[in-house]
Every structure is written in C-alpha cells, then in structure tokens.
C-alpha cells in the first residue's frame, strides 16, 4: 500500500465513533444498553448510527446483559451490552458471571473515567477490569482511541471463538473523545490463544474403538452441541451406533424431545432413566458438557462401572470432576463426525429398551399426575406442557430460576435447535424476563415463552418497561405459587418444614402488567387453561398470563444434593 492510498483510506473520527464502526464491522445489529456520564460520548456517536445499530434501552443494566445473553443463545451470534462506568458496570456483573459459567458469547462495553483520573477514586470509577477478570474470558481497558478498532475486533473474536464466553471492554472517556485515524481491523489470530485445537487422530480411534466394543453406551449431550452447531453430527453418531442420549439442562434442544433415542434430561431433577442408567452403562460418552455437580451428584459413585469418553473444546474440562479414559479435544462438529465414520452400524435394542422400565415408573409416579391432574389447583407441569403443545413444540423456552425452571425444562418439548434459554451454572433469579426480551430480538420469527416465578419476576420486573417500549412479543407465563417455591421445597425436605422467609405477599401482577400496557389475564381453573393459552398466543405482541398454581407443589424426581446419581427420590410424603 502506498503512502497516498493510506491517507485516502483514513478518516479522523472520535474513539466513540470508531466504536460504532468497529461494532458494524463485527456484524453487530442489536445492542442492549443504558447511558450514563462516562459513556455519553459513545451514546452521542450512537445517535448518528441509529439506522444501522438497533439500540434497545433496558431499564437496568442487569437487564442489558441478560438480554444480550438471551439474544446470543437463540441466534448463535455475540450479544452486546453497553453501559456506563461505576454502578452501571457493577450492575452487569451477575450477567457476566452467568455468561461465563454458561459459555455464552457476549461483549460488554462499559464507560470508564478518563485515563488521567484512573486510580484516584474519581466519580463513578470502579476497577472493572480487576473485578471482571476472574468471571470473564477476557477483560481489557481501552485507554487510547487508537486501540478501539483492535480491541473491539479482538473482543468479538475471543467471545465467539473456541469455548465462547463474555468479554468486558472498559472504555476510558478520554479514548472516547480523542480523534483517531480510523482503520478497520480484523483480529482472527492471537498466538497465545488456540480456540480450535487440532484433532488428535489417536483419540478419535480410541473413542471409536470403545464405542464399537460397548454393549450399553450412554451419551450425555451438553450445550457444546448447540454452541458447535453439531446437531446433525450428534444425530448421525447416535443413530448409526444406536446410542441412547441424556441431555443436560442447556443441551435439551440438542436433539428433538421425541426422538426415540432421546431419553430425557440429566441431573438433580432430570428423568429417572438417564440418571439411573448412568450407573448401569458400560460406556459413558460425554459431549460438550462439564460434569457439573447438579448432573453427577456424588462423584465417588458416579459411573464407576463405565469407561468414559469426553468430547470437549476446552482442555481444562478434562479430568476436572470426572477422570476420563479417552479425552477427545476439539470442535465437536468435527470430532463427532470423525468418530462416526469409524463406528460400526450396530443395534443395542435390549439396552435401548431397558429405559422403558424407568420411563414407565416415572410416568406412573410423577409425570401423569403432574400433567394430567384430575382435581385440585393448577400445577406448573400441566401449564407448561399445554403451552408447549399449543406452540406445536416449536417455541423457544425461556425460564427464570426455581421450580418454574425445573418444571419448564422437564415438561416443555423441543423440535428445533437453539430453543432453551435458562441460567444453568449460575442459577440467576431475574434472568428470565430480560433474557426473553433478548430472545425476541435474536429469533424474531419464533414464539418466545417465558416461564417465571413470582419471586424471580420481581428481581427484574422493570424490564416490563422495555417490553412495553419495544412491543417485544414475550409470552410471559407467571407461575404464581406465592412462595419462593424451590427454597420452600428444600425447607420442607431438609429443614423440617421450617418455612423461613419463603412465603411471599404478592402484588396484583395483572394490574402491574396493564400499567405497562401489556395485556394480562389470570387463570385459576383447569378448564379455562387452554382457552387462556390460546388467547395469549394469538394476541399480537407481549402478554402476561398469570397461573395461580398449587402453592406447595414439589419438583420431582430429585437426587438430593450429594446423593448418588441413581438414587432418585420419586415420591415424598410432604404433609
């Protein structure tokens, strides 16, 4: 490039405008944010980019990060949040931690005081980089306008590549206002960072060998399959080698719920079959999952009889919680395909059928009475299953945290990929409502159903304002049990029914909803449920359907914390 070419290509703009151009370069279309002093130059630049960058004004910065997460989960793109310094930045912390543990690609840009004032306890100065370092994939302070293009491109590259995660950019005010000769940058290589490790053929051979010599294989499907878009590769493997599958919470839409090999959900409140059979199989094939304690229960007795293969893109997951026999490092879209080529077409009819016994038992003792109760108050499970069916099982499930989440994940059904948005590793109450807003932007053509409890809704209830302003078509199903239900259940089971601060006096949610111009209804009776759901789904735009559900319902089955994975409780005497 000659000297003259260079000058022609360059333009002097502010660091704030360089941010706008850099975001466009990274393909950003939507960002969620909230302005304030230390980010005002950026908001001023944004004013001229409103036609190209769709900024959604949230009502609290926690809402911005959860919305960005919801957006990322359903679209597979990097979610983006924009906030001010100090309290604006600290309000995003929960979302950053949540995105870290759930591997969600997200870039959070927060304002910061000018570089000259750093470290002086200036107004709204918080050491954001150090606060977020342990809970983010990368955290970086931009102190010069010259670094904007590079830092933003690097941030998006890191957030989306390899095992995705949140990146925080702390943008000093002087760098926002200074002028810079802007030149677009594209970071797609960092020598100290290998997002896509090379595939080890030996590991592929060993994995195929173990699969070919297994009589009772069980595959545990995690979110890695969603993140790696390896749905077809998963199907190809399990169908070729006839392998039953258990899904983690975040992996529930890895394959259709009704697929004959999908044996349901793993974990504390998962299905009986895949949990019990974890301790019966002779080969456990874990794909893109991290053996969380909510999945494994007691590690000392977990799958001790089985050989274990672990597919993951993150080498630090191997042997972290569970010692494995074969570690297959790499992008599971490629590693699964490579292994599938080498496995034999086989049937494990007897083994696959052996799940029926557990399905039948769980049906009789738990599921039937949960989804088809004859009398008594409405139950969460029946509401969820009816909503799912009313959407032809094609909707996106967003949940908050608590019983609503566990029932939601157990009873909603999936036919499409990228359909579960829930806070897994962090269990963040208040996640649901803003995440659902984000999901409507990430997947505008799909129905977004949020199940939320009376506790969790109030943690981010201000986002009803965002929904009102954006007319976001979130179908909010409030499962109101007048309790912090999940905690109440533990108090009943493990603390002798001492309901210490779990009953809750609730406001009139219908009134609140209407105050935000969101149509609302309450359903208390079973025979009104279907009609109420139909009205909700056919009403254009947002809707709040409050379901008055049984107050002291229990989410079952349950593996008590620390208990063996195959010792699930199906029934409790709770009176």
């Amino acid at each position: 490039m000659t000297q003259t070419d260079k000058t022609v290509n360059m333009e002097q703009i502010t660091g704030a405008e360089a941010l706008m151009k850099s975001l466009l370069n990274e393909g950003v279309e939507t960002l969620f944010g909230y302005p304030g002093g230390a980010i005002m130059p950026v908001y001023d630049a944004l004013y001229d980019y409103r036609d190209r960058l769709n900024h959604i004004l949230v009502r609290h910065e926690q809402g911005a990060v959860h919305a960005a997460q919801g957006y990322a989960r359903v679209s597979g793109k990097v979610g983006c949040a924009l906030v001010t310094s100090g309290p604006g930045a600290t309000n995003t912390i929960t979302g950053v931690a949540d995105a870290m543990i759930d591997s969600t690609p997200m870039v959070v840009i927060c304002g910061q005081v000018g570089a000259a004032m750093l470290g002086t306890d200036a107004f709204q100065e918080v050491d954001v980089v150090n606060v977020t370092n342990p809970i983010s994939k990368w955290s970086y302070q931009i102190r010069r306008a010259e670094d904007v293009a590079w830092a933003v491109s690097r941030a998006f590259y890191i957030a989306r590549s390899g095992r995705p995660g949140p990146v925080v950019l702390d943008f000093a005010k002087n760098a926002q206002t200074a002028l810079v000769d802007y030149q677009p940058q594209k970071v797609d290589y960092i020598r100290s960072y290998q997002p896509k490790p090379a595939i080890n053929q030996e590991a592929i051979e060993q994995a195929a060998y173990l699969i070919n010599h297994s009589d009772r294989p069980l595959l545990l499907a995690g979110q890695g399959i969603e993140l790696g878009n390896a749905h077809n590769e998963l199907l190809a493997l399990v169908e070729k080698a006839d392998i039953p599958v258990g899904c983690t919470l975040l992996g529930l839409s890895d394959l259709p719920s009704d697929h004959r090999l999908n044996k349901g959900m793993l974990g504390m409140h998962g299905n009986l079959g895949p949990n019990v059979q974890t301790n019966q199989c002779d080969l456990l094939i874990a794909v893109g999952m991290r053996f969380d304690d909510r999945v494994t229960g007691n590690l000392a007795t977990y799958a001790k009889q089985a050989k274990i293969i672990h597919f993951d893109i993150d080498p630090s997951e191997f042997n972290k919680n569970v010692k494995v026999d074969v570690a297959v490092l790499g992008d599971c879209k490629q590693t699964l395909a490579a292994v599938t080529e080498k496995v034999h077409q086989i049937r494990h009819t007897e083994w696959v059928n052996s799940f029926e016994k557990y399905e039948k038992e769980e049906d009789e003792k738990v599921i039937e009475r949960a989804i088809h109760p004859k009398d008594g108050p409405l139950l969460m499970a029946e509401v969820i299953r009816r909503v799912s069916e009313a959407t032809n099982n094609e909707a996106i499930l967003v949940t908050d945290v608590g019983q609503n989440q566990m029932f939601g994940c157990r009873y909603f059904k999936f036919t499409k990929a990228h359909s579960v948005v829930t806070s897994g590793g962090c269990g963040t109450m208040g996640f649901g409502l803003p995440a659902a807003v984000g999901a409507t932007f990430g997947a505008p053509d799909r129905t977004v159903c949020l199940f939320v409890g009376d506790g969790g809704l109030q943690m981010t209830i201000q986002e009803l304002g965002t929904i009102m302003e954006q007319h976001s078509p979130v179908k909010i199903i409030l499962l109101n049990n007048n309790y912090l239900g999940n905690v109440r259940q533990w108090q009943a089971m493990f603390f002798r029914h001492r309901y210490s601060f779990t009953p809750m006096l609730n406001p009139d949610y219908e009134l609140i909803s209407r105050a935000y111009d969101i149509p609302a209804a309450t359903v208390t009776e079973r025979d009104k449920l279907d009609e109420a759901i139909q009205t909700m789904l056919t009403t254009e735009g947002p809707y709040l359907l409050q379901c008055a559900v049984k107050e002291e319902d229990n989410i079952l089955p349950m593996t008590p914390p620390g208990a063996d994975v195959d010792k699930m409780i199906l029934e409790i005497n709770d009176n």
């Binding site: 290589y189 993150d314 080498p315």
Partner: protein
C-alpha cells in the same frame, strides 16, 4: 526422603505411602505469557480459587523477546498441578503453562543475610558456618556484615539455621526459585513455531 516431598507445607509428613493421588508434592509451574499488564493477578487468582498457596514466585522477561516467564512453586497433588496449569493456560494472553517436579529442572535460589559484626567477632561459629556453606561476604562494616548464599532451598536454610543459633542474624531474605528445564526440547519455541505456521491457516483459528 523423596526429593519431591515438600519441605514447606509438610502435609504429607504423616502419610504412609508417598505419591498417592492424595500426596502433595512441591511443583514448579513455568508460565510463559505475552507481556500484558494484569496477568499476574489473573494467575494468582487461579491459585487462590483452588485453595493452593503460592510458595514462591518469580517474574521476569524470558529469552524470547516480548515473552514473560513466571516461575511459581506450590504444594499440591499432581492432578491439582495439572488443573492449575490448564486453567492458567486458558487465560487469553498466556502462551504456555507446564508443571515440573524437582528432578525435571535445574533449580537455583539465592539469599542475603545481614549479620551482626560484634556477634561474628565474638562467636567463631558464625564465620565457620559461612565458610562451610560456601557463602560469600559482600560487605563488612563495624555494625554488620552482608553475606550472600546461592543454592538450593535446603542449603540456604541450613546456613540460616546455623547462623540463627548464634543470634547473629539481623535480616534474612530468600529469593523465589528460578529454574531451567532439563528437557532437550524447547517447548515454548516449538509452540511459537507451530502457531506461526497456523497463522497462515485462518481456518484453525475460527
């Protein structure tokens, strides 16, 4: 005694059988990183989170331009050392992180002792300890003398203990350990060469 046993924490002192899964040894973790600010706190946070105490740490520029070298010692199990190194390597600007036992590295550590001159003159054990341990006197004045001793941790502590019995020690300081691997291959150079090759294949970096 197994030379890998940790003298500093003594946790495996009462264990019947050494080198079991539970046995804690002294590991030296060598970390190479880009020269970016803030990495030290990222690395130390990983140890804190896994409840592993850092015994010594030394940070300096490495022989490769722009690359920093961290030498960290800690007492932990082998699987913990493995997990720590993997979690450290996960930080974006860390190039490499590996752990070693004492038999895999050449180790050196240095120390300085400030010794009371009147005690040294009065008690012959002081000068004989200095001689016997091969320490070097770098300065003497009527109030104090300064000695320097370089060697293994055990050598240094042996000198210190001998001198301390006489009441001569006014100040004592030990540096963190530094070391060089005995391996005939240079892992960092190989890594950098490999990455340089991969730079040309953007597919590998997506």
């Amino acid at each position: 005694m197994n030379q890998n046993d940790c003298n500093a924490c003594g946790k495996c002192k009462d264990m019947e059988e050494k080198n079991t899964e539970l046995c804690e040894n002294l590991y030296t973790i060598l970390i190479y990183s880009e020269n970016t600010p803030g990495l030290l706190s990222q690395i130390s946070a990983i140890f804190t989170r896994r409840q592993v105490n850092i015994e010594t740490i030394n940070v300096c520029a490495s022989s490769t331009p722009g690359v920093h070298k961290y030498t960290v010692t800690c007492c932990c199990t082998r699987s913990m050392a493995e997990m720590l190194t993997k979690q450290i390597e996960k930080r974006i600007d860390v190039l490499q992180s590996n752990y070693y036992t004492d038999d895999e590295i050449f180790i050196i550590e240095t120390s300085l002792l400030k010794i009371s001159t009147p005690v040294m003159l009065a008690d012959s054990r002081v000068s004989s300890a200095i001689r016997n341990h091969g320490a070097r006197i770098v300065e003497v004045n009527p109030t104090y003398a300064t000695a320097e001793k370089t060697g293994t941790t055990a050598d240094i502590l042996s000198l210190y203990n001998a001198l301390n019995q006489t009441g001569a020690v006014l100040q004592f300081v030990r540096s963190g350990r530094i070391c060089i691997t005995k391996s005939t291959s240079e892992r960092l150079d190989e890594y950098l060469a490999q990455r340089e090759k991969e730079r040309a294949q953007p597919e590998a970096n997506k």
